[in-house]
Amino acid sequence: MTQHDSPRDALILGGNRIPFARSGGPYAGISNQDLLTAALDGLVARFGLQGEKLGEIAGGAVLKLAGDLNLTRESALGTPLDPRTPTIDMSKACATSLETVIHVSNRIRLGQIDSGIACGVDSASDSPIEVTPRLRRILHRAFAAKTTGQRLKAFSAIRPADLAPVPPRNGEPRTGLSMGEHQALTTAEWGVTRQEQDELALASHQNLAAAFDAGFFDDLVTGYRGLSRDQNLRADSTLEKLGSLKPVFGVKSPQVAEPSMTAGNSTPLSDGASSVLMGSAEWAAERGLRPLARVVDARSAAVDYVHGDEGLLMAPAYAVPELLDANHLSLQDLDFYEIHEAFASTVLSTLKAWESEEFCRERLGRDGVLGSIDRAKLNVAGSSLAAGHPFAATGGRLVATLAKLLHERAEETGRVQRGLISVCAAAGQGTVVLLESVSD
């Protein structure tokens, strides 16, 4: 492999996603498998992978139908890739495709595979609707019945109330609070203002629009079903428009003195899929593919949000310092920060935590603060507030975007560039990844 003791590099070679759509929009009625196949098709086309047998495709969805047991495999079989390419389905809420990137990266670094695709998909328009537990038990009994009589007897137990579908759960199972309500409490705790949130949302829209205008996404996004840009993008958004929206989260909590989280500074339910092509240096060279970045390291963390010990979406605030320490970097040593905008206030609460002496001392057990970041390096090509957030597709979007940003900047400056990706996830989890540019 190499003469070094450290494992070989896992390289990001490029990515492809479809434009993200608002739930119930142009992708309504389109399945997760359709969306993921479209994203993979575009990736295969872009990198000429027709007939290629890759080491592995790791993918996943958060809102997954029971029938989508092998979602990634079924999607991959619909592409021109060699059908003998193995796949794995993974899941970690909003961090799903960031975890698939880490998985493929680890496999490549350990020499288990030479190439792979990390991907993720979600459709809030086609999310699973469950039946009641009672109906499920009756149906299981009926399916297991050996005679028609037994089957009819089983079916006869069905009551009208059993037929009411169970809507998708809107909230954390252990607390009953929605993610927005959780974040509203964190927002209040950190004193994040409406103004700050709206400014972050505006920057997200402006940055994403500028990146599309500059053609930045021409080789990252493949148009799908009439969309060529993310549907949620409002290039003409202004602080006035954002400021006119009514708060939607935290309005019922007496603890939230001034509810500030609106539809404008929170991500909407979205549909979409993303994919990232990864490989070893040798594999890339054999195919004439130019590496953009390498995966340096990754960490994940979780917080105990259940009894209010920590905010639901604050796990990355813990994972990032761990990642930085392990790589002997300070927070300010990074050239790009991709912090997933679940809500504008999630990003801002995290940044405030790192700036807080008390948080860094008592929660992180550090001597000093992590400090502030240069906001000009934050989400420079827009993020989830503008692009939308199809849960399992967001990690792939972030990795491909950051890899391209790092590569471009490294080419311009001739210096190695480093970037951080931070994604918070449901159930108090977070995953963070460190990427480094690779230049020719």
């Binding site: 086309a45 872009r46 021109p80 021409d218 080789d219 148009g223 009439g226 004439g288």
Partner: protein, 446 residues
């Protein structure tokens, strides 16, 4: 892909009805898949010049059933009228009149081709004779039946009749690839070009860029060029990304999502080509849009995009590719998409016709620019082609548009693609700055 009317008239009762009512009865046009042979025999070569003998020998060499007279032939596949040495209008009659008696014996999908020289403004009698060939040919094309076509090759003085460009044009017109081309005269102006090594893969080893490739004619062009052996780079706007990706996967092509009208589009294209280590031998400038409106109702938001996509982008892209210096192969071939509207004009299409007429003039100038590089630039001008775009036309307009040509039907995207493939080939090296119509001899224009 035949329209309903054509299907109807081909049915027994429909055909009888159409005949009684004097309605047009379009014939099925044999295309390459239906008639793969390069020459439909027997082929009769008319004319007594040395050039005629040369052509007859050539055809024999290709294995064709070659005759010099019609004699008792019951069926005639192809006729080549070699009129390279006529000097006065009176020379025309003896040359072409024998064809008259043979008209009823022409096979379905037959080919009549004239080989002559263009008027050059020197000798009045000779020019009159030369010009006369053009009028004869155009009228003859209107009289052809059963999907047969008539086209002419105009060979500049000084260019030999066995020059690659002449042979190439002759082979194109003789083949089924020119199914929807009729009544056209194509000028061969230089001896440049070379015979293709492999007739089944005329574009082998060449890399071709097709813009606007995701759908319709663009996709047909890409498929045809790929079938002819070219490696494809397919380009379209990001919004057409899925179709583009699917096409790229089908053809193992390199997809490039790019809005050709965006700022720096040319530089970005060059960047991608360099990144992928690609040099282009063939550039097909197909991307085009329509925004029809009478001039009285025309606004800048309908005018500007049409001009920007249909002509300005062609100028900026080719300029960037030439300027880059390292992304064009040897003997580059540019083929641009014009339109019969650009030749004859069309009500409601002042913007479109302006852009397409611009294309016609543009390729002529570009041909000069490419000459030092050994390259050529030409255009094709499609008439009514059955595409998704024309499928959205009002039914009556569409029906009229289909019938007003000598072949009494709309063409197919493959017809445009075949013509482009020919103009992209090595054989077409002597053809420069030309606009070849693929219109079934649409009744409009010159």
């Amino acid at each position: 892909m035949t329209d309903a009317y054509t299907r109807f008239t081909r049915s027994a009762p429909g055909g009888a009805l159409a005949k009684q009512l004097g309605l047009p009865r379009p014939s099925k046009l044999p295309r390459r898949a239906d008639r793969p042979e390069p020459v439909l025999g027997p082929v009769v070569v008319l004319g007594g010049s040395a050039g005629a003998d040369e052509i007859a020998r050539l055809l024999l060499h290709w294995g064709a059933d070659v005759r010099r007279r019609f004699d008792e032939l019951r069926k005639i596949g192809s006729v080549i009228v070699v009129a390279d040495e006529i000097n006065s209008p009176s020379d025309l009659g003896p040359l072409v009149l024998p064809l008259g008696s043979a008209m009823r014996s022409l096979a379905p999908g037959a080919r009549v081709i004239t080989l002559s020289r263009p008027a050059r403004g020197e000798d009045p009698a000779q020019d009159a004779a030369r010009g006369g060939v053009e009028g004869f040919l155009r009228s003859l094309a209107h009289e052809m039946r059963g999907g047969a076509t008539a086209n002419g090759v105009l060979v500049e003085d000084g260019v030999k009749l066995d020059a690659p460009g002449v042979i190439g044009a002759l082979r194109f017109f003789l083949s089924a690839r020119s199914a929807f081309v009729t009544g056209q005269l194509l000028t061969v102006s230089t001896d440049a070009g070379s015979r293709t090594e492999d007739d089944t893969l005329p574009l082998a080893g060449r890399t071709a860029l097709v813009t606007g490739a995701a759908r319709g004619i663009g996709a047909a062009i890409a498929r045809t060029l790929a079938a002819d052996g070219a490696k494809l780079v397919v380009l379209d706007v990001p919004g057409a990304g899925t179709e583009l990706a699917r096409l790229a996967n089908e053809l193992r092509a390199v997809p490039i999502q790019l809005d050709v009208t965006s700022a720096g589009a040319g530089e970005r294209l060059v960047g991608v080509l360099r990144e992928r280590g690609l040099t282009l031998d063939v550039i097909v400038l197909n991307a085009g849009i329509t925004r029809d409106k009478l001039l009285a109702n025309m606004t800048a938001d309908r005018w500007d995009p049409v001009l920007a996509v249909n002509i300005t982008s062609q100028i900026t892209l080719t300029e960037a590719l030439i300027e880059a210096g390292d992304v064009l192969g040897e003997r580059p071939r540019v083929v641009s998409l014009a339109s019969t509207s650009g030749i004859a004009g069309n009500r409601g299409q002042t913007n479109y016709a302006a852009s397409k007429a611009g294309v016609i003039a543009f390729v002529d100038a570009l041909a000069g620019r490419l000459e030092p590089l050994g390259g050529t630039a030409n255009a094709v001008a499609p008439g009514f082609i059955e595409t998704e775009m024309t499928a959205r036309m009002p039914a009556l307009t569409r029906e009229v548009a289909r019938r007003v040509n000598s072949l009494q039907q709309g063409g197919l995207p493959i017809d445009v693609a075949e013509t482009i493939s020919f103009l992209s080939s090595d054989e077409a090296g002597g053809i420069r700055g030309e606009t070849l119509r693929v219109c079934g001899q649409n009744m409009v224009g010159k």
